[in-house]
Structure formats: structure tokens, C-alpha cells
Amino acid sequence: MKDFRFLLIASLGTVVLTAINYPLIIKSLGSSRFANVELKLASRQVKLEGFRKTETEFWNSIKEIEFDDSSQNTNGNPAENTALLQAEQATTETAEVNKQEKPLTRFLLLGDSIMYAVGVEFENAAKKSDFKFDEVKVDSRHSTGLNRIDYFDWYAKTPQLISKYNPDAVVVIFGGNDDQDILDKEGKYKTSLSPEWKATYRERVERYAKLISESSVRKAYWIGHPTSSVARYREFFLVANQIYRNISETYPKLEFIDNWNSFAVNGNFSPIVADKSGKKGRVRTNDGYHFTQHGAKIVVENLMERMKKDSVLQNTVQLKAENTNSANSQ
């Protein structure tokens, strides 16, 4: 009797709760791995409003690092900074330098959660290096990408960030959360990795590349994914990398960084890989797509190598000497 009474209370309550909370139940059901396409579509159309919207915005603000502007001097040596600043001031006062000839010293790193580790390693590398970094900003968002723009819209956010930080160069990494069905322009669902999905995702990547290319940014790097131990990600990253590479080739400002074999030994994924100094460590976390700190370090080494090759990075000592000479000669 007791069991039936409990069952009755539970059933009554479930019906009532579902009825009064219907949109949220649908949204919640959409995230279930057993949800079908229709349910997923319906859940994406539910817009968060009122208290729930405010709450989600609050939670998102907590999930991201709020960088303190006053602490963002990434160059480790204060004396050197002052000297550089003086040299720069002298230069700006005395000479009109074309913006295109100025060194690239302001960097903005954007992307999904994979970017956290990369961003931190880039900052660490910037602090330790002999190159000049006036500012490094990292803005990475959990569970985002170029697929689910209904959840987080990088197309709207990126111009805001570029206008706020005025970076010389942008580095992006996407794809960690893009391995899911995509909505095409006509609002139709395309199954992940199907030919239609590839075409739609390609459009999204191209749209983003165009956005970056037409901005004030002078150089942009699209970080490719290294291979993974998880077959599903390996397959997805290969396809995504190919799209990023092809699109990057059509935009002169944009460079694709191929990292595929950075986590591989003899062409196969290896969980433990050596960095440039020969130090070995685990490269990916158990989920198969996030980098460990060591993995991120290897990716950043590749990125900086490419930046050096492109003469994007300017040696501090050399730059200081050039600027002082230039000021003196005036």
C-alpha cells in the first residue's frame, strides 16, 4: 500500500511539474543523449527568459576568468618595460610610423574550453620569452564553438572583443564542441560529419574567417587539432582541420597551424610526448579532446615557432635598440 501511495504522489507530482515547467523540461530533455532530432530542435528553440536568463548570465560570468586590466602587463621585466615605453613614446612623438610596419605586440586568444590551457601557456611563454608582448588577452568559453551559435554567438562576440582590446594578432581554436548536428541556413538539421554537415560547417568557418579578415587585426592564426586517442574525435578533428586549413589558405591574413602529429609518435596518437626541451609528459586529458598543461605547451611552441617565422614576434632587445636609435637620431 505504501509503495502505491508513493507511486501515486510521484506520478501526480511529475505530471504537475512537467505541465508548469514544460519549456524547461524540453530544454533539459534536449541535452539527453537519447533525445531524437525533433526534441533537440525543439529544445534549441526554447529561449531562456526572466529569472532563468538572469541566472544563466550570472553563472556564465562566474565560469569565465575576469581579467584585471591593471595586472595585464605580460612582460616580466619592469625596468625593460619602462625603457621600452620611453623608447616608444619618443618614437611616436617624433616619427609617423605606418601602422602596418609597427611590430605586433597585442594578442587576443579566442576559443572554446580548449583555449584555456593554450591561453595560459601562451601567457607563460610570453612572460619567459625575449619577444615583446604589450598585451595578451584570453577569452575562452566553455561548451561553445561555431556550431551551437544559438548557445553562444562567436560572430557577435568577436567584433566586440576586437574593438575592446584592439589586438594586432588573433589566435583562435574551435571544434571541441562542434561535433554535433548542425542547423543549416534554412533551419534544417544536418547529421554530424555528413556531406551536408561539412558544407554547412565550412560556411560557418568561412564566415568567421571573413569576419577576422575584414577586422583591424593584422594577423590571425587558426590552431589545428592534434590527433586524439578517441576514434570519434580523431575522425572529427581530421575533417575539421581540413576545413580550417582550406579556408585559411583563401585569406592572406589567416594562417593554419598544423598540430596533427604533435601528439603522435610514428603517426599514431601517443599519450606521452616530449616537448622541444625533451621533457616528456601526458598531452591530453582523459576526455580525449582537452589538452593537459604539457600538451598545451607543445601546441604553443608550434604557434610561436610559426609566429617567429612570420616575423610576427619582435625581439625585445633588438626592438629596444632600434627604438632608442630612432629616437636619438631624431
Binding site: S32, F51, K63
Partner: protein, 484 residues
């Protein structure tokens, strides 16, 4: 399959409804429970299910060996070795490989060997501990060899397989083999469900956001944020794990098994000893009965007692996770417990001396002094436990040190206080209430529920659930203890 998900709701609705008709047919109910547990576990992975079944069969064969008096010790040792190897391979392989590479890096040796990618099956630590307890109990003749069916139900029992509580075989079999199942009170079960969902769905999901990045990237946060994040983690691990235990107990009660108390308002503890009597009780008792006492407990002198305590806590720490940070966490608790014991001995000695000179009647000054001492003990215990959690939650030892340095570095130059929000303080207050008046709140709700009419009862319960769901997220983060 996590408890607070739609999948589980549907799964349990079917299981519970069927159980109503089978509960009192002992044999059929055992088959049914085994079937339900295997289905539940298969949702994680079929490979994990295969491992669980193989492990169960092997350990049952060892149990049969232990039943033969002649070679019982040999079979016990074999059982312990096999289980420790099993746990070592699946849980600690990566840690050993990483440690070896770290060592090779430190001595600058270029050496490579093939590395396997191994994922630990869900609940491996919990079911391995249950299996070991069973082997030891049978060896000590405290438990008779069960039938294979009973044993399989015990090992795979789905409400407890993910994160406990670690039930003891004797109590479990008694309930399993009785046609008279545990007679639960509806209001008690409802309170457990509401409490579990509120802790997990609302509080844990909220606190989760404050405890991820600061522990991965402590150098990016100000001192005040790191302090708030450490406090948030203390609250998070309590609400997350005790929320899970509440739900597991509610499900067990509905299936006819007596709930096992796993938490008893731990943050009101005035000493570390008391904390371990209130925190993760089923594990503390397991460690006491199957590790601390077999090591000699307190019967072999003071030095040995302290050594046994330290060793038990270090092993307990390592059981939680494969990492130096977990060993440090366990070691710190071990050292804390030793200091706690020494202090108690010192106080006893001091009291003995002072009792002979001072009259036994307490003055108001003495009462005040006792209250202040209690308050200081409480703060000291909570602070120590919170600082130890930092090692528990950071991905490695280096990050824990950075976190601690950041907490006390008020001149780091980072002035942003991102976490200084009133909502967090409200949650702190709720967790405080749970630890100081949790029992009274439960009693109050129980009284309210038992007196009302069915319709009023339903309205009251689901108003509470509505608030919980409104405050919770769309998707729930996984339980922390599922990683262990």
C-alpha cells in the same frame, strides 16, 4: 546514468513499479535486482560491465577457496593481490606511468616505452572495497559463503555501485534474504529525495562554477577569490557527496533496504577525530575495520598507533585518486589526527592535575571559556579541513602550492574580486544551516509531511521540487565521487 537525470527517472520508475510486485518473492527479487543493476551499469559502458562481471566471477571462485579451511589464508592473499592488481591497473596505471616519466625527466634520461590508454571503470574503488570486505569477513568466519546470486547482487547493487555507501555483506544479505523488506516511511524517503536533489541539483551545480578554474589556474585569481573558491569547494564536496548519499539511500529504502548513514553534519565537528566520525562514515568505518585494526590499531603502543593512523589515512587518500596531491591530502589528515590524539592526551593529563586542586563545580567564567574553546576548535577544524581540500581538488601538487600561495598573497596585483557575490554567501549560509540544524530541519519537514492530506502533501512536495528545479541548471555536472 546519473541519479538526477531524465534517463534515471524513467529507469527507476520502471524498476520501482516492478519491484512492488516482486519485493516479497525473495528469489525472483534477487534475479530482478541483479538484472536492474546490470542494466544500470551497462549505461556507462559495456566494456566496464564485462569487467565487473568477470571480477565478480573471479572473486566468487576465490570465496569458494576461502571456504575450504585448509587453504583459506592462501586464497585470501590471492584475493587481496588480485583485487589490488585490478585496482592498480585500472586506477593507478596512468599515475605510475606519469610518475616514471617525471622521474626520467628529472634525471634527464631519454627513455620511451609503449603507454596504454586506460580508463577506470565507474565505481571501481567502491565495489573493490566491498569485495575485499567480503573476502576478509569470510576469512574471519564472520560471514558465510553466500550463493553466487546473492554475491552478484551484493557486488553490483546499483544504488551503491557508483559512490557507495559501502554496505557490509552481513547486513545486506540479511535484508536480501528476508521476505519482510525494510519498512520505509514515505515522508523520510521524500525528505531524502528533496534533500539530495536540493544539494546536488541546486547547491552543487551552483558551487561547481566557483571551483573549477581557480583550482586549475590559481595564478589568474585574486587572494579573496581564492579564499572564496576554497570555501566554496568545502561546501561543494559536502553537498555533492552527501546529496548523492541521500539519493542512494532514498532509492535503497524504496527497494527495501535500510539506508546507511554516510554523513552526519560533518562541519560542526570540533576535532578532526570527530570530523572522520561524521564524514563519509561508511568509508571511515571500512578503513578502521579492514586497515587500521589489522595493522594493530592502538594495541601496540603509542608510536605504532600514530604510525597506523598515518598509514591508514595515506592509503585512504591514495584510494581517492591516483596522484601525489591525494597522498598529501591523506597524509595531512593523518598528521592532523596524530596531533589531535596528542592534544587529547595532553588535555587529559592537564585535567587530571587540575581536577585534584580545583573544585568540580563550573563557574560562569569556566562555561564561557569552554564555549570559546569549542568555537575555536570548530573554526580550527573547519579551516584545516578546507585547506586540505585544496590538495584534493587541484589537478596536481604544484597547483595546490600555487593556490595556497595565492590565497595568502594579498599583494599579487590582481584586484578583481569576481566571486564576491551575495548569492555565494547565501549558499554558504545554507550549508552552515545544514551542518548545524540539518537534523532539526529534517524533523520539521517530516512532521509537516506526516500530518497532511495526500493532495496537500503532493502540493507541498512539488512546490519544493519546483523551486529546486527553477534554481538548478539544465544539465547537472557529474558527481565528484564518481571519479574515485
Amino acid at each position: 546514468m546519473l541519479f538526477p537525470t531524465h534517463e534515471f527517472l524513467v529507469f527507476f520508475a520502471i524498476i520501482f513499479t516492478t519491484s512492488i510486485f516482486l519485493k516479497h518473492r525473495v528469489s525472483a527479487y534477487k534475479y530482478f535486482l541483479l538484472f536492474a543493476s546490470l542494466i544500470f551499469y551497462s549505461f556507462w559502458s559495456l566494456n566496464f560491465l564485462g569487467l565487473l562481471v568477470t571480477d565478480t566471477v573471479i572473486n566468487y571462485l576465490i570465496l569458494k577457496g576461502i571456504a575450504h579451511n585448509k587453504y583459506k589464508k592462501v586464497f585470501l592473499i590471492l584475493g587481496l593481490v588480485i583485487n589490488l592488481i585490478y585496482l592498480g591497473i585500472f586506477k593507478y596505471y596512468n599515475f605510475f606511468v606519469d610518475s616514471l616519466y617525471e622521474f626520467l625527466n628529472s634525471v634527464q634520461l631519454q627513455f620511451s616505452f609503449p603507454v596504454l590508454e586506460i580508463l577506470a571503470p565507474i565505481g571501481i574503488s567502491f565495489y573493490t572495497f566491498r569485495i575485499i570486505a567480503h573476502l576478509v569477513d569470510c576469512y574471519r568466519n564472520q560471514q558465510q559463503r553466500p550463493s553466487f546470486l546473492d554475491y552478484a547482487v551484493y557486488v553490483t547493487y546499483f544504488p551503491q555501485i557508483g559512490s557507495g555507501p559501502i554496505s557490509r555483506p552481513n547486513e545486506f544479505y540479511t535484508q536480501l534474504n528476508s521476505s519482510k523488506k525494510y519498512d520505509y516511511q514515505i515522508e523520510t524517503v521524500i525528505i531524502l529525495i528533496i534533500s539530495g536533489l536540493f544539494k546536488k541539483y541546486t547547491l552543487s551545480s551552483f558551487l561547481f562554477n566557483f571551483t573549477q578554474l581557480p583550482f586549475s589556474l590559481p595564478e589568474q585569481y585574486s587572494s579573496i577569490d581564492l579564499i572564496l573558491s576554497a570555501l566554496a569547494y568545502s561546501c561543494l564536496i559536502y553537498v555533492d557527496f552527501s546529496g548523492y548519499s541521500d539519493l542512494a539511500n532514498a532509492i535503497s529504502s524504496l527497494l527495501g533496504f535500510k539506508p546507511i548513514q554516510n554523513f552526519d553534519m560533518p562541519y560542526r565537528s570540533q576535532s578532526l577525530q570527530e570530523f572522520w566520525r561524521r564524514w563519509h562514515i561508511s568509508l571511515s568505518e571500512w578503513l578502521r575495520d579492514y586497515l587500521y585494526i589489522p595493522l594493530g590499531g592502538s594495541k601496540k603502543g603509542k608510536f605504532r598507533k600514530h604510525f597506523n593512523l598515518l598509514l591508514t589515512m595515506v592509503i585512504g587518500g591514495f584510494w581517492h585518486g591516483a596522484g601525489l596531491n591525494f597522498i598529501i591530502w591523506g597524509g595531512l589528515h593523518g598528521l592532523g589526527l596524530i596531533v589531535n590524539h596528542l592534544w587529547k592526551d595532553f588535555c587529559k593529563m592537564f585535567q587530571k592535575n587540575s581536577n585534584s586542586t580545583i573544585s568540580s563545580s563550573k563557574t560562569s567564567f569556566q562555561k564561557l571559556r569552554a564555549n570559546i574553546a569549542q568555537f575555536c576548535s570548530l573554526i580550527l577544524t573547519f579551516s584545516f579541513v578546507t585547506l586540505c581540500w585544496i590538495f584534493f581538488n587541484t589537478p596536481n601538487y604544484e597547483n595546490a602550492i600555487k593556490f595556497l600561495q595565492g590565497m595568502f598573497n594579498f599583494s599579487s596585483g590582481i584586484s578583481v574580486a569576481q566571486f564576491n557575490v551575495w548569492q555565494l554567501y547565501v549558499v554558504f549560509f545554507i550549508v552552515f544551516l545544514m551542518n548545524f540544524a540539518g537534523d532539526k530541519i529534517s524533523e520539521l519537514f517530516s512532521k509537516l509531511l506526516s500530518r497532511q492530506h495526500l493532495l496537500l502533501q503532493t502540493t507541498f512536495i512539488f512546490s519544493l521540487l519546483y523551486v529546486i528545479f527553477r534554481l538548478g541548471p539544465n544539465t547537472v555536472p557529474p558527481f565528484i565521487y564518481f571519479n574515485f
